[in-house]
């Protein structure tokens, strides 16, 4: 059998998909929250970076996973608050402001990395913590399924759970209802006395929290260190994934799986005689192609009406 096909059909491929899609799933949920409220947050690339960084640094210096988690999330909330303040209060274009914040996060993390680790590349000189992996009883003993679904990092399970949380917040709470209403028709929302800016603010904060979790997973789960610009465009891929999934729970989930599969194939291809550069390109090309197909279909639909 073709060696590539053989490895793709092995359970470890399924395991890898879950591993690879975790940060994209977190970030896509983050993007989706903001998009549903009508103010899309494209600064999750920066949010993930800054949270990945603070998680590593704080856990390394305090030896506390909890503090690492909390500070990572606070960093995400902080960046989202800045975006919200500039967009909602100072009326900055949210796209340009987010571009600035992405730059800021990249520069700021390298800056601090140098201060704390005396290195501009990685934090490997620091002894930071990682989130534990979990074997799921019973499931772990089932062949194939166990190999695919058991033994993941706890944040991977949290990511899967987050889809449910996303669903519940959006469809089962007053806040979710208001977020959707504000995104669809702000006039309708304000005509019944809803403070549109306040709802958008909450949505942006939520997007920051989920982006932060994605970042924490990268530096304290996926790998065990922080590296400069380690998000490598995942925050941008998340925008595409959220778009593709129409910003709704199931769609975002499926789109994240799709990008997870594509990225995993890229990793698997690396074992073949294909230049690694081509493999690294795959997720980005896949994003361009899927976004294009999506746009073609959207514009066709519009023409039909």
């Amino acid at each position: 059998m073709n060696p590539l096909l053989k490895s793709i059909l092995s359970p470890s491929f399924g395991f890898a998909i879950l591993r690879v899609m975790t940060p994209i799933l977190f970030a896509s949920i983050g993007v989706a929250f903001s998009a549903l409220a009508g103010s899309i947050n494209i600064s999750l690339e920066g949010t993930m970076l800054i949270s990945a960084f603070f998680g590593v640094i704080v856990s390394a210096f305090t030896k506390s996973l909890t503090l690492g988690l909390i500070s990572g999330i606070l960093a995400g909330i902080g960046l989202a608050s800045i975006l919200a303040y500039f967009h909602l209060k100072l009326k900055a274009d949210i796209i340009l402001a987010a571009i600035a914040l992405n730059m800021f996060a990249s520069g700021f993390t390298i800056f601090l990395l140098y201060i704390f680790a005396k290195d501009k590349g990685t934090s490997s000189s620091l002894k930071s913590l990682v989130f534990p992996s979990i074997q799921i009883p019973i499931l772990k003993d089932i062949p194939i399924l166990g190999e695919i679904f058991s033994g993941h990092n706890i944040l991977t399970y949290l990511a899967l759970l987050s889809i449910l949380i996303f669903f519940i917040i959006i469809f089962k709470t007053p806040l979710g209802l208001r977020i959707r209403a504000v995104g669809q028709n702000p006039d309708a929302a304000s005509s019944v006395g809803i403070n549109v800016n306040k709802i958008k603010f909450y949505a942006l904060i939520l997007s920051g929290i989920f982006g932060a979790l994605g970042g924490l997973y990268l530096s304290m789960g996926y790998v065990s260190w922080f590296a400069r610009d380690m998000t490598a465009g995942r925050g941008f891929i998340a925008i595409a994934a959220s778009n593709l999934g129409a910003h709704l729970p199931l769609g975002v989930f499926l789109a994240s799986i799709l990008f997870g599969i594509l990225n995993t194939i890229a990793i698997y291809l690396a074992s073949l005689q294909v230049p690694s550069e081509f493999i690294q390109m795959i997720p980005y090309i896949a994003t361009i192609i899927t976004l294009t197909i999506y746009s073609i279909q959207a514009s066709r639909k519009k023409r039909k009406l």
Partner: protein, 509 residues
């Protein structure tokens, strides 16, 4: 029965200087259906927006149930028991009926939405008033009539005692209208008060107890509906002492230079807004198209100028077909277009006066070489037009946004009339501009006509139509329902019934 709403001496001046309400006072009795009728721009919608807190009046007071109240925003109005159903529904398309109804006042269980209770409240209110709605369907899947019902329920669920409906029947089919009227009668029986804004006279007389007629930002009269008939209302609405002079038609018999054949169009909401419109335009004439806004005029003009594609039909210019040509190709054939909304289509407001003037001609030999624009020529040309059309601007290099509304319109008119047009499609050419500018635009159109152009004048302003037109077409609901030869003595009273859909007379051309 007592007076529930009383407004006193309301004065509203918009930032652009338009005085929409000139000291309006009105009493509405509790438990009645009170209609307010008037032409576009008579001030009726503005008045209601003030009552509902969307606009703030400069002067005047509002009393509700005998108490003076201050309404700064819709939320204040809702709290006081005033609800409004807007012409454009304030509903979130992708949310369900009950979600829309309870937005902002959601029943909760802990931190969660209490969907069960939400549905129960919805059911209870809809039972109480006999207004059944499919409570778990999304708004976008509902027909217009049901969407409107959701809007009404939205107000009722928030305990509205006074319900304002802004042109509620303009979007409804006759059947839906009938259903709405039954609803309104039920509401009246249960003690609610309803203000009903309309210009469909038959309906007004069918449903209203009292009728208030507004004109020019003032109230003409308030009477019991029983004491009025359609023709009387129409006269009071539009048949004012006409103080304008009709511009006599040009005596030259022109030939047909522009023709629309059987144009139809379906819009994004799947509504057939044009149903086979045909007309012929001759040189040396102004053909007026009058009708109440939203009867297909906007779409027709956009199709004629190449900004939209028709579903069916042909457009001929001197017997050559120009259907589906690009805007520039149509302009090249000497067709000019004064657009309905100058800020949306007519100008780029951050660009300079010059840049706005040359948009249809910058590429021509007189204004550019192979690559470069000829700045000197452009400046001279612009200054010439600024002088000729009396545009008040510091210089031709100032941004259009620094000009007043009337002067912005003059920029548009200057451009469109200075291109030596054979056909001029003028859509609301004097909307929202001062009297002086209006006079100027009218004279310019007349001059263009006398030079042999054919002008297709679309206007919601009857005075303008009567003053300028050689012939008049009346459009109603996407169809041309009547053609008039504009003769001395023709008045708004003659046009009104056709514009309002009371009369129809096809094949009169």
């Amino acid at each position: 029965m007592g007076v529930i709403l009383s407004v006193k001496n309301i004065v509203k001046v918009y930032p652009n200087g338009v005085v929409a309400n000139k000291g309006v006072s009105l009493d509405v009795e509790e438990g009645t259906i009170h209609a307010i009728v008037g032409e576009n721009g008579a001030g009726k919608t503005t008045l209601m927006k003030i009552v509902f807190g969307i606009e703030e009046a400069q002067e005047g007071q509002i009393f509700f149930k005998g108490k003076r109240i201050k309404i700064k925003n819709p939320y204040d109005a809702i709290k006081n028991g005033i609800g409004m159903v807007h012409q454009h529904f304030m509903l979130a398309q992708d949310l369900t009926v009950y979600e829309n109804l309870l937005l902002g006042i959601e029943p909760k269980r802990g931190i969660f939405l209490n969907t069960k209770e939400a549905i129960e409240i919805t059911k209870k209110v809809s039972n109480d008033y006999g207004l059944s709605v499919p409570f778990d369907k999304k708004i976008k899947d509902l027909p217009i009539g049901l969407r409107q019902r959701v809007e009404i329920l939205k107000a009722l669920i928030r305990n509205a005692e006074l319900l304002i409906l802004d042109e509620p029947t303009s979007v409804l089919t006759p059947q839906e209208t009938e259903v709405l009227f039954n609803t309104l009668k039920t509401l009246k029986k249960s003690g609610k008060t309803i203000i009903f804004i309309s210009h469909k006279l038959k309906e007004v007389l069918e449903i209203a107890d009292k009728v208030t007629i507004m004109r020019d930002g003032k109230i003409v009269v308030t009477k019991d509906a029983k004491e009025l008939n359609e023709h009387e209302i129409a006269y009071l609405m539009v048949g004012r002492e006409i103080s304008f002079e009709r511009i006599p038609p040009n005596d030259k018999q022109g030939e047909v230079i522009f023709e629309a054949q059987n144009i139809s169009f379906i819009n994004e909401d799947n509504v057939k807004v044009l149903k086979g419109v045909s007309f012929k335009l001759k040189s040396y004439e102004i053909l007026g198209l009058c009708g109440i806004e939203g009867n297909g005029q906007t779409e027709l003009v956009e199709i004629l100028t190449g900004l939209r594609r028709p579903l069916t039909g042909k457009i001929l210019l001197k017997d050559k077909e120009i259907t589906n040509l690009l805007p520039r190709e149509i302009r090249e054939k000497r067709v000019s277009h004064i657009p309905e909304d100058r800020m949306k289509d007519g100008v780029a407001d951050r660009a300079t006066v010059e840049e706005n003037i040359i948009v249809d001609r910058y590429y021509k030999k007189s204004f550019s070489g192979r690559l470069l624009l000829k700045e000197k020529e452009i400046e001279n040309h612009s200054n010439e037009l600024i002088r000729k059309f009396n545009i008040l601007t510091i210089s031709s290099k100032n941004p259009v946004s620094s000009l007043s509304g009337g002067n912005i319109q003059k920029v548009v008119v200057a451009r469109e009339l200075s291109s030596n047009p054979l056909i001029i499609i003028a859509d609301q050419p004097t909307r929202g501009i001062d009297v002086g500018s209006e006079e100027l635009v009218h004279n310019l159109l007349k001059d263009a006509r006398d030079n042999g152009a054919g002008i297709f004048l679309v206007s919601a302003d009857l005075d303008e139509i009567l003053k300028l037109s050689t012939r008049i077409l009346v459009i109603y609901n996407g169809e041309i329902v009547k053609e008039f030869i504009n003769h001395e003595g023709l008045t708004g009273r003659d046009l009104g019934p056709y514009m309002l859909g009371l009369k129809k007379e096809k094949d009169n051309g």
